[in-house]
Amino acid sequence: MKAAAFDYIKAQSIPEVLALMREHGDDARLIAGGQTLLATLNMRLSEPQLVIDITELAELKGIELSGEYLWVGALVTHTEIENAPLIKKYAPILQAAAPHIAHRAIRNLGTWGGSLVYGDPAAEWPACSIAVNATMVVRGLQGERRIPACNFFVDLYTTALAPDEILMGTEIPLANAKDVFSFQELARRHGDYAVAGLAAVAKKTGQALSDCNFVFFSVATTPVAAVQAQNLVNGQAVNAELITAAVAAARAEIETMEDITNSAAAKSHLVGVLLERALKKMLAD
């Protein structure tokens, strides 16, 4: 499986990247970690004429505390997230999720931004970015704009990114002492795409959870928040009845999609199982 021929350029600046993207359109692909792109190219599922390497762009790197937000640049690797003290403190669910992403060698190269813009509903970062209320900062020739994560994932492998825009990174509100979370991924083998997964974040006061984000992945065409279940739980003391009601609501509201070995019915069932386990865990923390 050898890739078809292409040209390669290592971009030195954002304006250069944007100009190249405008010029080549669909004939060009950006390469960051390349862990998804290169498998696609090796299998000739995609045959771009130009590959634009963006790994030199300093503005896309770094994990930094910036006022009220944690900045995670698009080029930050999964391994960097796995190890960063700032992530552990201010976005701990990401550190819980990172070891589930593929395997170490892939995490050493694969990037936060790459996963987000690819928009695979089975991936961890899209769901996690919604769960932490991240804001995507994107830049195009028109300038910069901000897109909340909950609006970013539009359809299967489709994000709100315009064809001539590049993701710079994300601003993530800082987790504090009240934050509780649960990250679960059911996969047949460690590192595989999940059969079903849940990134759950909330604020806890006593026995009650609020500001709930229950974001499921690998069950539909995009990561999907169980909004009705969130509304049911917000502000309420978590008890057995509430859990039962939330589980029923989540199963009812999410239209699940089958995959090669798991039916939509199985995914719906697992949605409920994951939510129940998440609520119990967050209650106990």
Partner: protein, 155 residues
């Protein structure tokens, strides 16, 4: 039409300069142009780990890494690391525990194990299994490989 890209990098301690087609991945370049047959190709989609090599001190899937991306970087394969003595303890443990059969996964398995020992020197048996679960072995039952890595961790 698809101009070749200049490459200047260090491979196993030696400076390598070349002009190559950008489409070629790192392992093909290492194997075919430099004659380094240690890294192997098992799937070319990043799933099996047979192609694992080290770039700037970290393990990567050499089939999911363009050779041109290695420009300016330091690349190590199992041959170079063996010559440096960086894998001796692991190799001895693998021999003692019979942690290889056909040997096709061994290069990748050793490089993965070496990074684990460096990053998680307190790893438990379960953590070892989790770490090497990106390296496919069809011959052993993984049990002896885990034993060998634990031998080195516990030494």
């Amino acid at each position: 039409m698809n101009p070749k890209i200049p490459l200047d990098m260090i491979v196993n301690g030696n400076r390598v300069q070349a002009q190559i087609e950008p489409r070629r991945h790192l392992v093909d370049f290492l194997r075919e142009d430099l004659g380094l047959k240690g890294p192997h190709l098992g799937c070319e989609q990043g799933a099996c780990g047979a192609c694992t090599v080290r770039v700037d001190g970290q393990i990567v899937r050499g089939c999911l890494y363009l050779a041109v991306q290695a420009n300016g970087k330091v690349v190590d394969t199992v041959e170079g690391l063996t010559a440096q003595g960086a894998l001796t303890e692991l190799q001895d443990a693998f021999m003692r525990r019979n942690a290889m059969q056909c040997g096709f996964c061994s290069s990748g398995m050793l490089l993965s194990a070496a990074e684990l020992i460096e990053q998680q020197p307190q790893a438990t048996r379960e953590q070892v299994r989790e770490w090497i679960s990106g390296n496919y072995c069809r011959c052993t039952g993984y049990h002896s490989i885990v034993d060998a890595i634990m031998d080195v961790l516990e030494a």
